[in-house]
């Protein structure tokens, strides 16, 4: 069956669709979080090198992966919005940014908590943490630019361009930071990869999926507000039950 994508790219249709989808994503995210945490804390064995502390990775790694991936997704939406002038993609890009920044922040925070017992310091200039910090800066720059332009159309287009430039830069930054790190013989976060227990892997994947679903749910919820705000002049918004009440 061919799906009419254009139909769903109209803000009004998408608004209704997102409203229906959010509970499903939210509920499955909550369930997966519960399962992942159960496996991570009760099934996965204690790491013989790092003790109980290694259990931080079940949130740290998914948060890192998600923060990087969300930036790319945001840049793709931004590019679509810029090239095809589709309103919805631009709105999606703005809705993704805060969630991506929060995941970057969680990744930094949990990385610091992991570093303290391992290296005796809250912050080490490890390649992953440093790139994550720069990624957070990129998110903050994107949001700062978007919020300082009053005209929403110009805001969308200008920040879209920034997101694209940023996403081209992300690999260069990552590579240069890695190089810099090995040059200075810095410490690197390693999770005794040789003996990663099956339960550890399961917990990690389930937590990753849970974070994904959570991110989708919250982004959809946020984009609904953005749609309402931008389309407040239109008739379909005026006819919504939540507006009439």
């Amino acid at each position: 069956m061919a799906i009419n994508w254009f139909k769903y790219s109209a803000p009004s249709t998408f608004y209704a669709l997102a409203g229906k989808l959010i509970p499903w994503f939210a509920i499955s995210a909550a369930m997966l979080f519960a399962v992942g945490l159960y496996i991570g804390f009760f099934v996965a064995p204690v790491d013989y090198q790092q003790g109980e502390f290694y259990r931080i990775i079940f949130i740290h790694v998914p948060a890192s992966i998600l923060s990087m991936f969300l930036y790319l997704v945001m840049a793709v939406y931004a590019a679509l919005g810029l090239i095809f002038n589709t309103r919805l993609s631009a709105m999606m890009a703005t809705a993704i940014a805060p969630t991506g920044a929060l995941f970057a922040f969680i990744s930094l925070w949990t990385g610091a908590l992991w570093g303290k017992p391992m290296w005796g310091a809250w912050w080490v200039w490890d390649a992953r943490l440093t790139s994550e910090l720069i990624l957070l800066f990129l998110y903050l720059g994107y949001m700062a630019l978007h919020s300082s332009i009053d005209d929403p159309r110009r805001a969308d287009r200008a920040s879209a361009l920034l997101a694209i430039v940023g996403s081209v830069n992300v690999p260069i930054i990552y590579f240069s930071v890695k190089w810099w790190n090995t040059l200075h013989q810095g410490s690197t976060i390693k999770f005794s990869g040789t003996s990663m227990h099956v339960a550890m892997q399961q917990a990690m994947f389930i937590m990753l999926a849970a974070c994904w679903l959570y991110a989708i749910a919250i982004v959809l919820a946020r984009v609904r507000s953005v749609i309402l705000e931008r389309e407040r002049q239109t008739k379909w918004v005026a006819e919504l039950p939540e507006v009439r009440a």
Partner: protein
């Protein structure tokens, strides 16, 4: 070694729970509250706009 270091080594699971998971959960909850709040504000604004428009 400071007091925190000793406490951390004695209660690793509490440390992991409170420090990472409870904190991440807190962030998720804060984000959720903010998004709901934003939605409430937007809806209110639209209603106000409509009422102002109907009076004209």
């Amino acid at each position: 070694m400071t007091g925190l270091d000793i406490w951390m080594r004695e209660n690793p699971l509490t440390y992991v729970w409170l420090g990472s998971y409870a904190f991440a959960l807190l962030i998720f909850v804060v984000e959720l509250v903010l998004v709901r709040h934003k939605r409430k504000l937007t809806l209110e604004q639209i209603r106000l706009l409509r009422e102002a428009g109907e009076e004209d």
